[in-house]
C-alpha cells in the first residue's frame, strides 16, 4: 500500500481490500479512502454487497445428517460401553 496512499482508491484496489474492510483490519486512512470510493461507486457497492451475501450464504449451509450405517455402528459401541 506504500504508493497507493496518495491517490484515490481504484476499483481494482478496492476488490483486494474488501476482506480487510469487512474484518475491520484496515488502517483508518485506508478505511476512509475505501468509504469515499464506495460512496461514489455503485459497482463497488454491489461488489461489497455480494461479498457480504457470500459470507451469509456460507453461514447458512445445511448440516449433513449422519448416515444410518454410521449411526448403527455408534449404537453398537454405545451398547457395549453401557
Amino acid at each position: 500500500m506504500s504508493t497507493a496512499d496518495a491517490h484515490e482508491m481504484t476499483c481494482k484496489e478496492l476488490v483486494e481490500l474488501v476482506t480487510d474492510y469487512l474484518e475491520d483490519a484496515l488502517p483508518p486512512a485506508a478505511r476512509t479512502r475505501f468509504d469515499e470510493h464506495l460512496a461514489a461507486c455503485p459497482f463497488c457497492t454491489t461488489y461489497v454487497e455480494q461479498m457480504r451475501q457470500t459470507v451469509k450464504a456460507l453461514g447458512s449451509l445445511p448440516e449433513a445428517s449422519i448416515p444410518p450405517a454410521a449411526l448403527d455402528a455408534l449404537l453398537g459401541h454405545f451398547r457395549k460401553w453401557r
Partner: protein, 220 residues
Amino acid sequence: MTTPIVNNDIALDEARLLTALRERDEAAFVSLVRRYHGPLLRLAMVYAGSRSVAEEIVQETWLGVLQGIDRFEGRASFKTWLFRILVNRAKTRSERESRTVPFSALAASETAGDEPAVSPDRFLGADHPDWPNHWCAPPTDWGASPDQLLLSKEARERIGGVIAGLPPAQRQVITLRDIEGWSAEEVCNALDVSETNQRVLLHRARSRVRGALEHYFGRE
C-alpha cells in the same frame, strides 16, 4: 404457538442430555450424535481431505466421548470439549499417517504470489485517461432477493462444490470462519497461522466463492 429458542434453552436442554448420557440413556446419545454430526464432519474435513476418513474421525470422536463422559466436569462447554476431542484424534491420525503436509507449508504456498480477486480484464487499463483501474465489466445485481436464491438447493450445491475444490489452506480457513462461524483468533490458534495469512487465505477463498456465485447467477 412457538416461542423462540434462546441460547439458554439450548444450554439447559444440553445439560439434560449430558446427565441422561451419564445415566446410559441411549436416546440422549442419539440426540447428541444427530445434533453435532454436521459440525463435527465439517471440522473433520478440515483435517481429513476425504469424506470417508472424516466420517471415521467423527466415529472415533464419539468413542472418545463415551470413554470420557464420566470424567467430563463441564468446565468447558460440551461443544468445546467435543471439538477438542475431534481435533486431537484428527491430529494423532495425520501424524500416524504422516502423509499430511503441515498447515504452515500450505499457508506459505497459498499466500505467495498474486491471486487477483477479480480477473484483471474486467478493469480498464492503468493508462486509461479518465478511469484507470476502474470496472469495465462491473458486477451486476443478483436480483431482488439474492438471499432467497442463495438458499436454493442448487446454489448450496454450487457453494459446496467450490469449497471442495479450493486449495487446502483456503478451504480450511473459510470452513472454520464462515461456515462454522469461528472467530479469526480461534482459527489462528487452531491452525497456528498468523492473523495476516489467515486474512489473505480467507480473502482468496471468499473471492473465489463470490466469483463462482456470480457465474452461477448468470454473468458471462
